[in-house]
């Protein structure tokens, strides 16, 4: 099954299935036997106090982190996707992933889109930067960016990757009101054709989710 989007491409139905997921660091248990299932067009907010494992959960869902036990499975039409397959459909915005400081914003976007094999023009990159209020700063090195601008740049990359699976950890961290509005507009625009998971304790951010997974409570 596929969903036609208004942005000139087709997105497909994906499903994320998490079953009995547990994570421990040594003797310390972070979370235990977490299960949920999510489809394209649905959103999940992962909430919980500091140290409850929200970021760890996102890290595991990206495929880069390992769970102590349990299953994480991305499927398309009941066919399980490999790491290569689902990461090409995924965009991740977290506070612990950074861009290259010595390169400009445009160079960073060009680098990551080329690596992903995406055909993206310079004009599209500029458009993406403009969407998040960085249109005038595309040729500046990332080293000269503030934390909020770096956060906006992560969304500019996410937009260019046309995500079908969107994993966000503290999605509006470092952002001012206009930045937050830009992010919420972006989430509104992709919500119907993406599977969105947000790790947050902010009510406004959690409002984009249809379901809530409470950790540590």
């Amino acid at each position: 099954m596929s969903i036609s989007s208004g942005r000139g491409y087709i997105s497909y139905m994906y499903q994320l299935e998490v079953a009995d997921l547990s994570k421990s660091f040594g003797p310390r248990r972070i979370f235990e036997k977490v299960s949920f299932s999510l489809n394209t067009g649905q959103g999940l907010a992962i909430t919980g106090p500091n140290g409850s494992g929200k970021s760890t959960m996102i890290h595991i869902l990206t495929g880069l982190g390992r769970a102590s036990s349990g299953v994480v499975r991305y499927t398309h039409d009941s066919n399980m996707l490999s790491f290569e397959e689902y990461r090409n459909r995924m965009s991740v915005v977290t506070p612990y992933h950074e861009f290259y400081d010595a390169m400009t914003a445009l160079e960073n976007l060009d680098f990551y889109t080329r690596l992903a094999g995406l055909e993206v023009t310079g004009q599209e990159m500029m458009e993406s930067l403009r969407t998040f209020g960085l249109g005038e700063r595309g040729r500046d090195r990332v080293a000269a960016y503030s934390s909020g601008m770096k956060q906006r740049l992560k969304y500019a990359l996410a937009l260019l990757r046309r995500p079908e699976i969107l994993l966000l950890d503290e999605p509006t961290a470092y952002l001012d009101q206009s930045g937050k509005k830009g992010i919420f507009d972006f989430l509104d625009s992709v919500k119907s054709r993406a599977l969105i998971i947000i790790a947050t304790n902010e009510k406004e951010e959690a409002g984009f989710a249809d379901h809530v997974c409470q950790l540590g409570g």
Binding site: Y9, H97, Y100, A102, E107, R114, L115, A116, R162
Partner: protein, 227 residues
């Protein structure tokens, strides 16, 4: 999802170009490698004075300088990605093999630049001229390929360790020993004017080392990169 249009060669080139651009702007590894080579050769030249040791010592000295210069700069190739927290997006958005091969080619480029500077200095400062220059260059190039391949994969392993410290030196010693022995042997033959036939066994060993090391690196890297 848009079509995947960039082939493997394109992705490797993208990583290589990124490394070049970052290095050109930060000169992180280049300065370390060049300064180490210059300082070591100058110190050795002054300390030896007019007493020139035999070709055995000169050949070993040449490769010791190359090895430590490479270790001083190239060992950081993955550690700097971890420290700057750029490794996360690289793991997520880039195929592991493209990252490895792009970095190996970049390290080889850096080593070749270093050798272009080091060889004339070696000849001038230590008054040592290879009698068979083509053999010397053949051994040097094969050695640099092996050196870039092995230092890159060892650097990847070190970057994933919680205690990095002297791990690079400990890991690289057994891995690089066959390469250094063969490369020193070829350099020695070239210094005394021997022909290719005289250096054939170490040349074969070096060639085999390069093929095995780069193949193994490509096979193992995905596991190391994502562990």
């Amino acid at each position: 999802m848009p079509t995947m249009s960039v082939n493997w060669a394109g992705r490797i080139l993208t990583v290589f170009k990124k490394e070049m651009l970052s290095e050109f702007r930060t000169r992180y590894a280049f300065n370390a490698v060049i300064m180490f080579s210059l300082v070591t050769l100058t110190v050795v030249s002054f300390s030896l004075g007019m007493n020139r040791p035999g070709p055995e010592v000169m050949a070993a000295l040449f490769w010791v300088v190359l090895f430590f210069a490479a270790a001083s700069g190239l060992a950081q190739v993955f550690v700097k990605e971890e420290e700057a927290r750029t490794a996360g997006y690289l793991r997520l958005y880039a195929p592991a093999t493209a990252v490895l091969v792009g970095k190996i080619i970049f390290n080889l480029f850096l080593l070749v630049c270093m050798a272009v500077l080091l060889v004339p200095l070696f000849v001038i400062l230590l008054d040592t001229v290879p009698q068979n220059f083509i053999l010397f260059l053949s051994g040097l190039f094969l050695g640099l390929i092996g050196l870039s391949g092995s230092t890159t994969i060892i650097a990847a392993i070190v970057s994933r360790a919680s205690v990095k410290g002297a791990l690079f030196a400990v890991l690289s010693f057994p891995v690089l020993l066959p390469l250094l022995v063969a490369a020193i042997e070829i350099t020695l033959v070239s210094l005394v004017g021997g022909n290719f036939a005289a250096a054939w066994p170490p040349l074969q060993l070096l060639l085999a080392y390069d093929v095995v090391m780069i193949t193994l690196s490509i096979m193992l890297f995905d596991f190391i990169w994502h562990m």
